[in-house]
Amino acid sequence: MTAPTVVIVDDHAIFRSGVQAELGDLVEVLGEAGTVEDAVRAIAERRPDVVLLDVHMPGGGGVEVIRQVFAARPDQRFLALSVSDAPEDVIAVVRAGARGYVTKTITGPELADAVRRVRDGDAVFSPRLAGFVLDAFADSLPADEVDPELDQLTAREREVLRYIARGYLYKEIALRLGISAKTVEAHVSSVLRKLQLSNRHELSRWAVARRLVD
């Protein structure tokens, strides 16, 4: 399998070179960008498999990059990478279209693995994002307001998210639940879809009230 190609978008040059060093040969870095404008241009020119995207940047942040790139290339894949733990930021960038979120403390090999999975169309949830999602979908809504397709997690999806929140890898989860790793990935992708499409009002408001930042 060839190494996935990425463009790193972050307004801190030190951080970009740090990521590049950590990734080493596992991932081919096609380019870097420090602003929204540069990022949009670099992504259009280099066409990477995955964009590693900082949530916080001057000029609208990661959400703005996703918005502008999607206008031309709706199939571009993004993985959010951030020091920010603020649930509203994380949820916002995932709802904008990122296929996952990992924190900047992730190790190089783990990050390379996450990039590969995003390239292959899977979703990547950090334990923290899994916790946010469980919380966002926790409250039961009145039956007439619920679209069960989008507004509720299945018991299995919940179970998978719980294991992710506890730091389990997909293959470990598969082992525990007696299902295949592919099925685990399918569950996570389904949760991602719900997270992006559900209109649950909590998804935009809940974070403020709940203070999940730790």
Binding site: P127, R128, G131, A138, R162, A165, R166, G167, R211, D214
Partner: protein, 401 residues
């Protein structure tokens, strides 16, 4: 309408003192009707009407404030001043009618002075709070400075009126006539200086507001730098001194990161004695700091702490301590979820693990502090471990309703 038939002034809707508004309310007509009436009568009787107004002002008690005012607004300084000036004029006209008359030289300056003084007095009263306060701090600040500038120029105008009235009086009395040219020159100079100073004055008022905003900004900056100095810079200094001890440095960095995050997020301090989520976080921080092993905490939901939950937190702390002891290098995770019926917590580590069958029965940590503690509260604890594959501790307890 109240049963009270007394005629009362209505200062809440007043033009001058609320006499007309009060009459209008008593008669159930628009205030404009008695107002126009008063003006017509005042002109027709050469001022007697104005005297009547003054008499009514004195005689009518003011409306008791229990009734919510229909229109609470800032009464324009201009209107009040004009009203007072007109009243002064009327009084003087009445005196003329009665044969008591000085001269135009006194009347007009007096009216002017009354106008100016009323303007100044009206400015000293606080403006009522506007119900439609702009939402953003920036907009509020801008509006406050605009109002301050407005008041300043009104005050200037009032002072000019009073001074002008004095000059006019002196000039009319002929005191200045002897030096008429000088006076004219003085007036021209004063007007000229006023014209020159007016823009400066305006800019001064603006810069006062700007300076205030600047001061607020610099205060914020001072606060920020004080915080960074006490926390981040101190930590960086410590990191340099302990550069040869990676574990120490990592711990310092983590503690600083936690503090800075909490500060940036503006999060209220943890309430470990009241909320279960905060209690678990505090327990993790405590173990992390005493044992030096990083612990990742994810808590879903929250609820108030009670006795069974305190047991759960204590058991989780024990499990974390064990994990930190035996899995010092690996990642430790605490995941807890508050559901309607129960609270569940998991402590996972990727350490060396052990065979639960072979734990000596006298090991109090596991049996007593974790399992026994949970069971006494009607809860449940389970420890799963395999040598080489880490350990997981599952704790759960029902929620009291």
């Amino acid at each position: 309408m109240s049963a009270d038939r007394t005629l009362r002034r209505d200062p809440g809707n007043a033009m001058i003192a609320g006499v007309c508004a009060g009459i209008a309310r008593r008669l159930g007509v628009d205030p404009i009707v008695p107002r126009v009436g008063f003006v017509v009568v005042a002109i027709g009787t050469s001022g007697i009407g104005a005297l009547a107004y003054l008499a009514l002002w004195a005689a009518m008690p003011a409306e008791a404030r229990e009734r919510p005012e229909r229109r609470r607004r800032r009464r324009g300084s201009w209107r009040i001043a004009t009203g007072v000036a007109l009243l002064a004029l009327s009084v003087l006209l009445v005196f003329r009618q009665l044969g008591v008359w000085w001269s135009d030289a006194l009347v007009w300056p007096l009216v002017l002075a009354a106008f100016g003084v009323a303007l100044l007095i009206s400015l000293t009263r606080p403006a009522p709070e506007d119900a439609a306060e702009p939402a953003s701090e920036e907009a509020r600040r801008r509006r406050r400075s605009r109002e301050a500038a407005g008041r300043l120029s009104l005050a200037g105008f009032g002072i000019a009126l009073v001074l002008g009235a004095g000059l006019l009086f002196l000039w009319a009395r002929g005191v200045l006539n002897a030096a008429g040219d000088v006076a004219l020159a003085a007036v021209v100079v004063i007007v000229g200086v006023g014209l020159i100073l007016a823009p400066l004055w305006w800019r001064f008022a603006r810069s006062l507001a700007a300076e205030r905003a600047q001061r607020i900004r610099s205060q914020e900056r001072a606060e920020l730098s004080a915080h960074l100095h006490d926390s981040v810079l101190q930590t960086l200094a410590l990191v340099q001194r302990r550069a040869d001890d990676p574990a120490d440095v990592a711990q310092l960095a983590r503690r600083q990161e936690r503090e800075l995050r909490a500060w940036l997020a503006g999060a209220p301090p943890l309430q470990p004695d009241e909320r279960v989520a905060d209690a678990l976080r505090a327990a993790a921080i405590e173990v992390e700091e005493t044992r030096g092993a990083p612990i990742e905490v994810v808590v879903v939901g929250d609820c108030p702490l009670d006795e069974p939950l305190e047991a759960l937190v204590a058991a989780a702390r024990e499990a974390l301590t064990n994990a930190a002891k035996f899995a010092a290098d690996g990642q430790i995770r605490l995941y807890a979820e508050v559901e309607d019926e129960r609270v569940t917590a998991y402590v996972d580590d990727r350490g060396e693990g052990f065979d639960p069958e072979r734990v000596p029965s006298d090991r109090r940590g596991l049996r007593e502090s974790i399992i026994g503690r949970m069971e006494r509260q009607g809860g449940h604890a389970e420890v799963r471990s395999q040598p080489g594959r880490g350990t997981e501790v599952e704790l759960s307890v029902g929620r009291r309703r």
